[in-house]
């Protein structure tokens, strides 16, 4: 099935990580990046196409959530946390 090809899963992974980096809240940003990485890593050996498709669909819905919440966070953004100016916002 084309929808669940390796290339498309990787595209989804990159898109999710890219979008998550726009969270203006430090805690949401770091959680999203960490969770996405760990979730894709945990499921990397799933072989069954139906299962893969279900995971991909969930990831697409989560990408939509991230996208909307990033926008809301930016509209209502506030000052940075005390540790954000000391360390580079790496993840």
């Amino acid at each position: 099935m084309a929808a669940s090809s390796r290339a498309q899963v990787l595209d989804l992974y990159r898109a999710m990580l890219r979008e998550s980096k726009y969270f203006s809240a430090y805690n949401y940003r770091t959680y999203a990046v960490r969770r996405i990485r760990d979730a894709f890593r945990e499921n990397k050996n799933v072989k069954h196409p139906v299962e893969i498709q279900a995971l991909v669909n969930k990831a697409r819905r989560d990408l939509g959530i991230i996208h909307r919440q990033v926008h809301i966070g930016q509209m209502y953004s506030t000052d940075k946390l005390i540790i954000e100016n000391q360390e580079k916002p790496r993840t």
Partner: protein, 457 residues
């Protein structure tokens, strides 16, 4: 001077229309941060640009008080705050039907987290209301035959206060003591149960010291003696696996804002098989099976449901992460500082709530020194008074150690950097405060503080 700068910035920011690239909004909070000026009397703080520093927010390490909303929860709630605003009890139009469908879906989500049937979940305004319903409702319903209740000394204030108000109505309440570990003695519980006991109430995870009570054993004891068992699971739901049937729980209180859900909503689980009868506290139109009248706040319960579903999916992952960070925090602090005591049983313990007592350091002064980290020294509901926490007193902590306790909360969104920063500042300030302490000097010289005879003036 900093205040003037802040006012200037506020005045400049006001005419600017908010947009995705706007400055931080001019809500009161920012000014409060200015008070936490780095230009305190402590010169030993690491040099930071004073103007920039005053506009930065502290780290949040107080998850037992409340938790931030998970973005997934907010995303689920927003449609019901914007477009689907119907009253779920309106039976005659689509607005009501869609709102009711959302409410029932949320009920299913909450029930599935604790292994209950959706018909056993009643939505309330929070765990305090749920505790009130459970304790007063059960006690009053069975008042003709049963006049005795059992609870513990480390319960949340709302449970203790409900029991106190029942005592004024003529009920008898036994407040079980706890061992030094914070856990109740099961034999004492068995001995305390009388033929006219209607309810036993023991919280699952304590909000101040994080100890886990042996809920399954207590449930077994209560069910064998035909006594109802209520547990305040506000701090435990969604964090440790709970099953009301395996643990023989008859009533359970759930709080929304402790599991990354919205504030102002909670739920109570009331068992139907065998039926637990509860006298309703709030009279009205008979909503929620007559147990809690009043319009159910659809956006809030949708948020609670979403929070429960997310918690169910993320429980194992969160537990691993929080345990790792908790281990990191305690190890680093214990390794660098002597005379630090962890309050509560180390084994039957929820890792995300760490209560440490730093000997020879006053808790309030340490909290004020750690101004860049949001911490607490005891539960939020008792923090206004200067008395040491009753929970610490119940576990037998010495008066002076009770005054020097700090509660560190680690949650889903806490990062390693935040823990490292907190640990570093904590070690730095404890060392600094101890340097200033004459008691510490005496201890270093080998004097036993308990042997000192303090003179009267």
């Amino acid at each position: 001077m900093l205040l003037r700068t802040a006012w200037r910035r506020v005045a400049a920011a006001v005419p600017v229309a908010p947009g995705p690239k706007s400055d931080a909004p001019t809500r009161g909070l920012r000014l409060r941060v200015v008070d936490h000026s780095p230009q305190s009397a402590v010169p030993s703080d690491t040099a930071t640009a004073p103007q920039a520093e005053s506009m930065l927010r502290p780290l949040y390490m107080d998850v037992q008080a409340t938790t931030p909303l998970d973005p997934r929860v907010l995303d689920a709630m927003l449609p019901y705050l914007v477009n689907y605003y119907g009253n779920p009890h309106s039976r005659t139009h689509a607005y009501g039907w869609e709102s009711e469908a959302a409410m029932e879906h949320a009920r299913q989500q909450v029930a599935s987290l604790i292994g209950a049937d959706p018909r056993e979940i009643i939505f309330t305004s929070g765990a305090t209301e749920s505790n009130n319903i459970a304790i007063k409702g059960v006690a009053r319903f069975y008042r003709s035959r049963k006049k005795h209740l059992i609870t513990t000394q480390t319960e949340h204030k709302c449970v203790l206060d409900s029991c106190r108000s029942l005592e004024a109505e003529g009920f008898q309440v036994t407040y079980l003591p706890v061992k030094k570990s914070g856990i109740i003695d099961l034999k004492e519980l068995e001995a305390a149960i009388q033929p006219d006991t209607s309810l036993v109430s023991v919280m699952t995870v304590n909000n101040e010291i994080g100890v886990k009570q042996p809920i399954a054993e207590i449930g077994r004891i209560c069910s064998s003696r035909k006594v109802y068992f209520h547990t305040d699971a506000a701090q435990a739901v969604g964090k440790i696996p709970l099953d009301v049937n395996d643990m023989k729980i008859d009533l359970m209180s759930i709080s929304g804002h402790k599991i990354y859900g919205p504030k102002g909503v909670g739920a109570i689980y009331i068992r139907r098989r065998p039926r637990v009868r509860v006298e309703a506290l709030q009279s009205g139109g008979g909503q929620e099976r007559g147990m809690r009248s009043g319009t159910v706040p659809t956006p809030l319960v949708v948020g609670l449901g979403a929070a429960c579903e997310v918690a169910q999916q993320e429980m194992e992952y969160d537990h691993k992460w929080i345990s790792k960070l908790a281990e990191r925090l305690t190890q680093k602090i214990m390794k660098s500082l002597p005379d630090v005591v962890m309050n509560g049983d180390p084994e039957h313990h929820y890792p995300g709530c760490i209560n440490l007592s730093f000997a020879y350091v006053e808790g309030e002064s340490l909290l004020m020194a750690l101004k860049d980290v949001a911490l607490s020294s005891g539960s939020a509901c008792t923090s206004a008074s200067l008395e040491p926490s009753y929970v610490l007193r119940a576990i037998g902590t010495d008066e002076d150690l009770a005054h020097s306790s700090i509660r560190f909360g680690i949650g889903r969104f806490t990062t390693e950097e935040e823990v490292d920063y907190t640990v570093e500042k904590c070690i730095h300030h404890v060392k600094r405060l101890r340097e200033m302490s004459p008691l510490w000097e005496m201890v270093q010289d080998g004097i036993d503080l308990k042997s000192i005879k303090w003179t009267q003036h």
